[in-house]
């Protein structure tokens, strides 16, 4: 049985029109005009237990609306949705016992209290038996290396430390489904790696089904085999990261650094993506010219110091897919 099934989910919002200027604002006090926004326009997908899925899309595409429906916060206009065999918006209390939610921008910890006190409070909120709680907490704390921080008030933690504590907090009741909303936003490189490592282990060893929304494509590349892309309220792509690359573009990048005196002349089969001093990034289509042939040609005609072939960054691919999907 799938952990999550979503079918034809529709959610519209009524948004008050804002009229420009002071006069417009005054008018708006007395008479408002509304227009309807279809935040979700027939979203559908399903997740198997233990999957770690990247849920991506531009701002306002419907990412957080989907997560809010799945988490039982919002009631949709129509459509079917089952999470772990339950309809999220019916019997909210029973549903949310099984899920964990991390909002990257907002902490769920008590700001002025030591970390350990927040954990203890969550034990009581979720009514976790003490023995199970202590075992889960100690295991998570050890995995994320939080032992020395437990007695520190949350307000004194760095963002990276706080995020790791927040992740522990969301897992203390052993949820079967975890929502991570921008869990690496604003983190330093070391903390990002620690968080990613931990999430991979969590998924591999405990089989927690995880939905990750993020703008950080490195998160996606490091963590997710499957990507669901939402745009304008409907699913624009659902598949592996490789398929996503292939669907948008076959292109590769060749970065060349010339020795002194090398100046670029126009070449067939390639276009310059960017240049920086002696360093040029060229895009080419391997169906027109094989990488080996291109390198041989460039090396023969220019004084080359260094060469690198790579895939275009995932951001570029995503940006292109967003464009392609414009109505």
């Amino acid at each position: 049985m799938p952990a999550v099934v979503v079918q034809d989910l529709v959610k519209t919002f009524r948004v008050a029109e804002r009229r420009p200027g002071l006069l417009g604002a005054m008018k708006g006090l007395f008479h408002r005009e509304y227009h309807t926004v279809r935040a979700l326009d027939g979203v559908g997908f399903s997740l198997q237990p233990g999957e770690l899925v990247g849920y991506i899309g531009p701002n306002g595409a419907g990412k957080s609306t989907t997560v809010k429906v799945l988490a039982g916060i919002l009631v949709p206009d129509s459509g079917r949705c089952e999470v772990l065999g339950q309809v999220p918006w019916q019997e909210r209390v029973r549903h949310v016992r099984n899920i964990g939610v991390v909002f990257g921008q907002r902490t769920q910890l008590w700001w002025d209290l030591p970390v350990i006190e927040s954990f203890d409070l969550l034990r009581d909120i979720y009514a976790v038996p003490q023995v199970q709680y202590a075992a889960t907490r100690d295991e998570l704390v050890a995995l994320l290396g939080l032992g020395p921080l437990l007695d520190t008030p949350v307000r004194q933690l760095s963002l990276g430390q706080r995020m790791r504590c927040d992740i522990v907090a969301s897992l203390l009741h052993r949820p079967a489904l975890l929502f991570l909303d921008e869990p690496t936003i604003g983190l330093d490189a070391v903390s990002k790696l620690a968080v990613r490592d931990f999430l991979l282990r969590l998924q591999r060893e405990q089989g927690v089904t995880t939905i990750l929304t993020t703008h950080d494509m490195d998160d996606i590349e490091a963590l997710c085999t499957r990507v669901i892309l939402i745009n304008h309220g409907s699913i624009a792509f659902d598949g592996t990261l490789e398929a996503l690359r292939g669907r948008v573009t076959q292109e590769r990048y060749l970065t060349v650094e010339f020795a002194d005196g090398g100046a670029w002349r126009d070449e067939p089969d390639v276009t310059v993506v960017r240049s920086n001093g002696q360093r040029y990034t060229l895009s080419f289509d391997p169906r027109q010219i094989a990488a080996a042939d291109l390198i041989a040609r460039i090396a023969a005609r220019y004084p080359v110091r260094d060469l690198l072939v790579e895939n275009p960054p995932i951001e570029t691919i995503i940006a292109r897919l967003y464009d392609e999907d414009q109505p």
Binding site: F13, R14, I99, F103, D112, L113, L121, D124, I125
Partner: protein, 267 residues
Amino acid sequence: MADAVRLYTRYIGASLRAQMQYRASFIMNALGHLAITAGEFLSLAALFGRFGNIDGWTLPEVALFYGLVSCAFALCEGVARGFDDFSRTIRNGDFDRLLVRPRSTLLQVAGQELQLLRVGRFLQGLAVLIWSAATLGIAWTLPRILLVLGAVLGGVCLFYGLFVLQATLCFWTVQSLEVMNTLTYGGVETAQFPVTVYRAWFRNIFIYVVPLACVTYFPALAILDRADALGSPTWFQWLAPLVGVGFMALAPQVWHFGVRHYRSTGS
């Protein structure tokens, strides 16, 4: 239910420990609060010094009203802080966090904060109440003591209900809360005087709509052993504080209606 009470006390404990992180600031704030409200009462006293009495009521008598409503409002502001401050919870999006926890939203908001610094106003109200009783030579029989406690608790309930209603409005708008301030802060100012000094329409609002008179005016008459110019029977004056409890009991229904609206619109 027992579990809910236990969790509530855990929440309150956490809130108190958090406030104790800022001990100096707490003491300064509580003292400041005491000074401000004391100044408020002194200006009331000055008013009576000028006019002697208002509509046949003397300063010590009005002080009884003042003391009752101040104690009730201070206690309520202390315990209902989560609702009083709810517009911030909505604006921050923190209400979503409450919805993903397996507990009643009312319990979670109620447990958000117990604001200790309101103790300043409470002590000042209590001092005025004691001064009033001593000056008037009220005989403190057990029934009278119970009535004072009942009036204060009824007042706490009534104001609590108002704060829950104010918070509920935030599900629709976080901009129109001034209306509610006229009922809470305005209500406190109004209830410091016997309702008979006001015009009928205004008086009736505070008897029938927002029944503040039931937790100050009517029980105060029974404590003072004074006949009601409005003609209420003595038994009603003794039971009137229960109206405050009833008012609070209605608030959760309205709250749940607001939560349903929030979950369907996601404001």
